[in-house]
Symmetry: C2
Subunit: 131 residues, 2 copies
Amino acid sequence: MNDKDRRSMPLFAIGIVMKLTELTARQIRYYEEHSLIHPERTTGNQRLFSFNDVDRLLEIKDYLDKGLNIAGIKLLLNEDETKQVSQLKMTESSQISDKELRRILRQELNEPGAHKKANLRQGDLARFFSR
Amino acid sequence: MNDKDRRSMPLFAIGIVMKLTELTARQIRYYEEHSLIHPERTTGNQRLFSFNDVDRLLEIKDYLDKGLNIAGIKLLLNEDETKQVSQLKMTESSQISDKELRRILRQELNEPGAHKKANLRQGDLARFFSR
DNA sequence: ATTATATGTCATGTAACCTAACATGTCAAT
DNA sequence: ATTGACATGTTAGGTTACATGACATATAAT
């Protein structure tokens, strides 16, 4: 088993993730609802989060603090991802993307520098792994 | 937060620990009952295990496979530990220890080499941390 | 002013966990 | 062979943690 597997291993119940991320259950579920994360489920349908999921939630939190909205965060998160998103509705989603993108860029203009490197405090949890 | 903290952080519900260790809930609770592990609890009294706990359970499993009994395992596990055990009943416990120790040694004589280095497969989980 | 977004709160159902008790298989001592 | 200790299985009844859905609300965008 390698790091990649370990990172994506479903381990944490939502209660733990709440403490690790200081997000409410409502928020976490909401972000899943909007496809920012995709935690696995137990056979009884309860969410099980991996280290990757938690890391991602920490990123989401950062971006929220910076004033980004869900749509914007989705774009940023999917940026460095070898997508997995359903590309079924590419046509209609691309027009949404454009619209949202403009909003983000506008926001970026109003608060310059916020986008830079996002101060990725990803790594808080990354330290659980080899460095 | 350092590695030590991370390792002792209460994170896992018993269901996860069962999968990670391939032990039954009954076994895990039994080992706690006999003070081989000391998982924390939620405010609602549910067990929460740390990486250390899981590592320890894997060691316990190894020792059991080698034919050791709980008393023997306890001795071995406490060996490299800056104790934390209540030393209240030192007198009576020492006489128990002696008795058990004899049994263990007897067992050891019957299966030589089993004690060597115990093939410490601790590290299965250790890889979650820095190396 | 209206709408959209993000989150809080409440109600209700179920999954996962808890302890306690009793049952069982294995082994060692009698 | 019988007894007893050990480790684990199993069952029962109770509690905690998590599920979804609906409605409320504050803030921000239009």
